[in-house]
Symmetry: none
Subunit: 202 residues, 4 copies
DNA sequence: TATGAATGAGCCTTCATTCAT
DNA sequence: AATGAATGAAGGCTCATTCAT
């Protein structure tokens, strides 16, 4: 118990650093975030950051993992709620879109790391894994769900998740530069659904 | 004459630096590109780079402008070729997709700078302009083209270009992490067209 | 009893730290040895090292003292064995050479600290004491021994121990960079003796 | 000429850094010498040091080379002066001893690097080379010189240079901790010669 | 007695920028 | 118009040391 509480304290600090890193990267961008910035945000010394993480790289890796996990779990809970395949897809799409529109620290942080991931294999691997897992969840729902309900896709099934997720991320990306009005946001969501169901023969 | 040739020479050098910067950023990534790297690629001294551009920021801004212009003009020429609105949209979509799949230095460079643009207003401006101009060209074609041909969009017309361009960029982004097979690429292109025409009542 | 055992325990721990420091410095070199390294080798926490020693400097000083003592006592026991002065000198020389060739942790540790001692008075003191005591033991044997036996030194008696010990240490130092073959080692030992007796008129 | 003068300037600065490094290491010791210290001693910025040398390691390597060269050339000029083998050996020994007793920056700097060299292969190699070359010069003089004059060594010829150089370095090392009086210094030099010639049958 | 957490100074290095030439 | 030299700020990291427990 004594031991536990000690470790607990450390674990808390570590998490504090992690959260500070996520927030700072989201706010200033990856390239503009130094260990000092993270330490400041965590109200700790630079040394403390290195006490909890072997290196900046190590910290970033953990940041990425945490963010991916936060996002994945949001989508997963949408999938796991009961309902027809169609309902579940709609919910998942809504959830993803909401995640992007809310623009919480995790998604903004991941955006930064995606840009890094292009040149850094360490980051590319978990990102690719997250992308793939997201796609596969949709694919499962489409193939074992919609298709078995008699809906025939107009394009190879494997393409559908790419299209859906790509569209969502692309729209979110563009909206960073040309923000959508609040009406448009609703329109976009509806449009995504039109697109999604337009991919199947009725 | 002397003056002329000197200016000419300088202009050439300046362009040389610009091209070197584009190539280097595309190859190594923005965060990994130093002024020295650019100078090396341009076969000049670091001092020369600062002679032609006030600062690294200044250089980057010109780099971005050049890349945006190069891309925009590619799309524009697709629009400007003669044909029915439908043909022109198809051509423009194909051209954009081709641009992304070819992954020339300009598009790769822009990808790098988009991440920077999120946090740097100076860069956000030309990017936003490029996005908007691309969208407006599609919008024109849709509104003055397809719609006047009797095709009715299922979603507000203004959303359509966002969807199309977003999907293309999103797909390209994802494919950086999970490359598409060559067959899939063709499928994707077809799928985008299915999506595009699925947005209209037939 | 409790107190006793505790103190006992503490004394043991302290010694454990000391031994760990000696071993680590011998293995990695002084400059590459951190308090953490010592703590690891002693299977203790970094804090524990600072509990037993005021500072790293303090620890190092004790390390040096321990090593000097270990070496001095080895030489002393060679002196103290019975025999003619000549036998005793030969034994002492053999013992010193053996010490260097065995390259135990103490001698290696001392080698590391000698370099430090040049710039750190705290360390210079015990080193100088060790050197002097070694020399004086030889001097005693020479003056009260050999000389009283009728052997006349060709050089001032005070120089002889310096020469002998200097040669031994210098040979050992050089052999760190250009190791001696096993035959050569024996040759060297014999040569030292030739030198030693060459210093006296027969 | 213009170009030359430019390069000349840089070359001077580089040498200034090198000399500053030698002096600083000699004064404070290797472990206590930071790049900042060197920069200060050279009256330059830390950045300038890195402009002239790739890294601290690189600088140290050049420092070592410079010091070895300075020392070697002193000994070499002693060898190369005309005279009988015996005279040349005596002169070389005197020169080496003088070098150590003067304790110029080069020899003190090398002493520091020797201690480092034990654990750092990069340094060990040139040091070993210097040791070996010094020994071989003596060996040549002994074998092709003294021996051919009819003097027979009492010990294997290969051992003689080790003994001589070892004795000199060992004596110098010990005298760092227990300085010799000025009379003793002369005695020591004479004693070394006694030793040297005591190794041969007369 | 001993530990784990945290600090802060100092280190090596990189890099945009300036400037004399 | 262009270069090479030099600067100085900032960055990541190491490490001896302190302290509450």
């Amino acid at each position: 118990m004594t031991t536990r509480s000690k470790y607990k304290k450390s674990e808390e600090s570590r998490q504090q650093v992690l959260d500070a890193a996520v927030a700072t990267i989201a706010r200033k961008g990856f390239g503009q975030t130094s260990v000092q910035d993270v330490a400041d945000a965590a109200k700790m010394s630079k040394g403390a950051v290195h006490y909890h993480f072997d290196s900046k790289d190590d910290l970033i890796q953990h940041v990425l993992t945490q963010c991916c996990e936060a996002l994945s779990s949001r989508v997963r809970s949408a999938w796991e709620s009961p309902g027809t395949p169609m309902e579940r897809i709609r919910r998942a799409v809504e959830e993803m879109w909401a995640t992007r529109k809310e623009a919480g620290v995790e998604i903004r942080c991941i955006s930064e790391l995606i840009a890094q991931g292009v040149h850094d294999e360490k980051l590319r691997v978990p990102l690719a894994a997250m992308f793939r897992s997201n796609r596969e969840e949709i694919l499962d729902a489409c193939v074992t769900g919609l298709v078995s309900m008699g809906l025939r896709p107009k394009v190879p099934a494997a393409i559908i998740p790419r299209l859906l997720l790509g569209a969502i991320d692309g729209l979110a990306l563009h909206s960073l530069f040309d923000p959508l009005g609040s009406e448009e946001e609703a329109d976009v969501l509806k449009a995504i659904e039109v697109v999604a169901f337009g991919l199947f023969e009725l």
